[in-house]
């Protein structure tokens, strides 16, 4: 009887211990447990799995309970080019410190290094992803953090390359401090609400550094989007805030620092657009405030399509762009005021810092080039300069109403 009672107490304690205190399971090629999948199998919710340095090839690993998975001294999990590596189907999972390589390219499945499926409260921290089809993939998930990861893709053709960080139908996600390169799109959002994206660096991607659609109310700040084949494209979205990002060196045949298509009620502030084919393209955009940005040495600083209206451009610096602004419309429904234009030749007699003569940012040549692309070969030609001067005196083919009535005499120092 006493024996029975003791047994009972022992099991009770054991049970209690298991539920109240999580335990750590060590996975290592040298230890008793050599496989991550096995560790997950024997683990209980809330356990920590510590993966020691080593090389693990286990195919698809499914995490179906809340776990903390930590890599110690850089363990490598290799998908060997087939299928998915980690599939998270449980909320409250954290993965950190792993190197995850070679999820399989597929035309049917979006195989990822780590996929989060319909979960919440997950954290993917400080991992390295090399040569994955998709690196981190979130579907129908929320309240999660993707931070501090290094993500390098295969840099193959666009068609057999997936995205670095891919979100579909998610909300309340933080993406910060990641480095993403050589993927199709660096960061991809579709139907995302309330994302916070900051301090990331997305460069050398095959298509867009950042690409989102139908993702309202997201904020992007202090990211760097650099040398992506097509720059950054954002579409069909409202309530976007973009602040203090850098869009740099995105040039090529159809490349944009920032392509805005059907964006409304958004704010683009204090960003830098440097050396892009087109700094910002606005197509079908309305009520966007473009304020205090630097647009420097772009081919076209801004291309403003006719279907855009009620946008406001103020206190921006337009410095040494080949074209400040081009538009395909003779009308103007947008507002330009108080910008600095480096090629403004007016004067300021009353010394109030505002040029006394309005500035016309659309030159005749930019209109010509818009109609006849080949005319671009005459860029910087003296004939073209003469045309521009003549047009500036008597506007005939440039939109008459499109002026900055109060051009700033000096570059605007908005960083202070």
């Amino acid at each position: 009887m006493i024996k029975l009672i003791l047994h009972f107490i022992f099991f009770y304690l054991l049970l209690n211990f298991n539920t109240t205190f999580s335990k750590e399971i060590v996975v290592s090629p040298k230890s008793f447990i050599k496989s991550i999948s096995q560790a997950i199998q024997i683990s209980r919710s809330g356990d920590t799995i510590n993966i020691k340095s080593g090389y693990y090839t286990e195919g698809n690993i499914i995490i179906n309970k809340p776990l903390i998975i930590i890599g110690t001294r850089n363990p490598v999990i290799d998908g060997l080019g087939t299928g998915e590596i980690f599939t998270i189907t449980s909320s409250d999972v954290e993965i950190s410190g792993l190197t995850i390589n070679n999820s399989g390219v597929s035309y049917l499945y979006e195989n990822a290094g780590i996929k989060l499926k319909e979960v919440t409260n997950c954290r993917i921290l400080n991992n390295t992803f090399i040569n994955n089809f998709f690196a981190i993939y979130l579907a129908k998930s929320s309240n999660s953090i993707i931070s501090g990861n290094y993500i390098e893709g295969m840099r193959k053709k666009e068609t057999n390359s997936g995205n670095g960080i891919h979100l579909w139908d998610c909300r309340d996600i933080i993406i910060s401090n990641n480095i993403i390169l050589n993927h199709r799109d660096g960061i991809y959002f579709e139907f995302v609400r309330n994302g916070r994206i900051f301090d990331n660096r997305s460069y050398n991607n095959l298509r867009y550094g950042l690409h989102f659609m139908f993702s309202d109310s997201c904020k992007y700040w202090e990211n760097i989007f650099e040398s992506n084949s097509a720059g950054v494209a954002v579409m069909y979205t409202k309530n976007v805030l973009m602040k203090k990002n850098v869009f740099r060196n995105n040039w090529g045949t159809s490349s944009y620092g920032l392509l805005l298509k059907d964006i409304s009620n958004s704010e683009i502030k204090e960003n830098q657009f440097i050396g892009n084919s087109v700094g910002i393209l606005l197509e079908g955009c309305s009520r966007i405030i473009i304020n205090k940005n630097d647009l420097t040495e772009n081919g076209w600083a801004i291309k403003l399509m006719a279907n855009s209206m009620e946008n406001s451009f103020s206190l921006n610096n337009f410095i040494n762009n080949s074209f400040n602004l081009s538009t395909n419309s003779m009308q103007n429904f947008n507002k330009f005021e108080g910008n600095y234009w480096s090629n403004y030749n007016g004067y300021d007699l009353d010394k109030n810092g505002v040029g006394d003569v309005p500035f016309r940012p659309v030159t005749m040549f930019s209109v010509i080039v818009e109609k006849q692309h080949l005319a671009l070969i005459l860029l910087n030609s003296h004939f073209v300069k003469l045309l521009d001067i003549a047009e500036g005196v008597v506007p005939s083919i440039t939109p008459n109403a499109l002026i900055d009535p109060k051009p700033s005499m000096k570059a605007i120092n908005w960083s202070k």
């Binding site: 159809s254 084919s277 080039v369 080949l374 073209v384």
Partner: protein, 262 residues
Amino acid sequence: MHLMNKILLYEIHNTIRNKWIIIYSFFFFFIGYALFAFSGDGSKAFISLMNIVLFIIPIVALVFGSIFLYNSREFIEMMLSQPIDRKSLFFGLYLGTALPLIFSWIIGITIPYFLFTVNYNNTEELILVIIIGSLLTIIFTAIAFLIALKQDDKSKGLAYSIFVWLILAILYDGLVLLIIYTFEDYPLDKFIIGLSIINPIDLGRIFFLIQFNISALMGYTGAIFQKFFGANLGIVISSFCMILWVILPVYLSLKLFGKKDF
């Protein structure tokens, strides 16, 4: 060639003491000063500089070259009564005009570069400007000689020089634009590239834009030009055209000089 060197030496002596050559040097010095000291940004300064080079150098070489040759008529007569062959005398005179023009503006522009730029980051661009400007000097001095040898009337010759400049520096591009508009329904890329190669000023301008990657910024159309002018074949073809522009007027002037009555 031995005789040519002697003539050349004296011609250079003569030309570098010419006040216009000195003014020319100062002109570029002040341009360089204004650009490098006040425009903080290097590449912007160089694009402006290139524009000035493409505008000023051809007209200066044309006007200076033809006036110089007209003023040398009696001296040529005198030199030809000395034991010297016409070819040596021609090259002596030609290089004696072109080289000081080249030195003059190179010195003018290089000094402010080294005085007023901070870290000499744009030396490559400077060298490119110098090469293009020097080639233009060589070409347009030869054209000036050709005009001055063909046309004995000084004022007519000057008018022709300015006319040639107007055509190549300005009107030609208008013609290109007209062609683009007139034949907009046809695939014109190659034809337009061809037209641009024919004019040395345009060629200089485009070459510079390509080197500055400006055309790379220019989207699809820029990429077409980049593809041609940036590729080996394009560089070979445009260099060939540039060399042809150097050789042809020099050769024709030399022929004319050999046959001419002084």
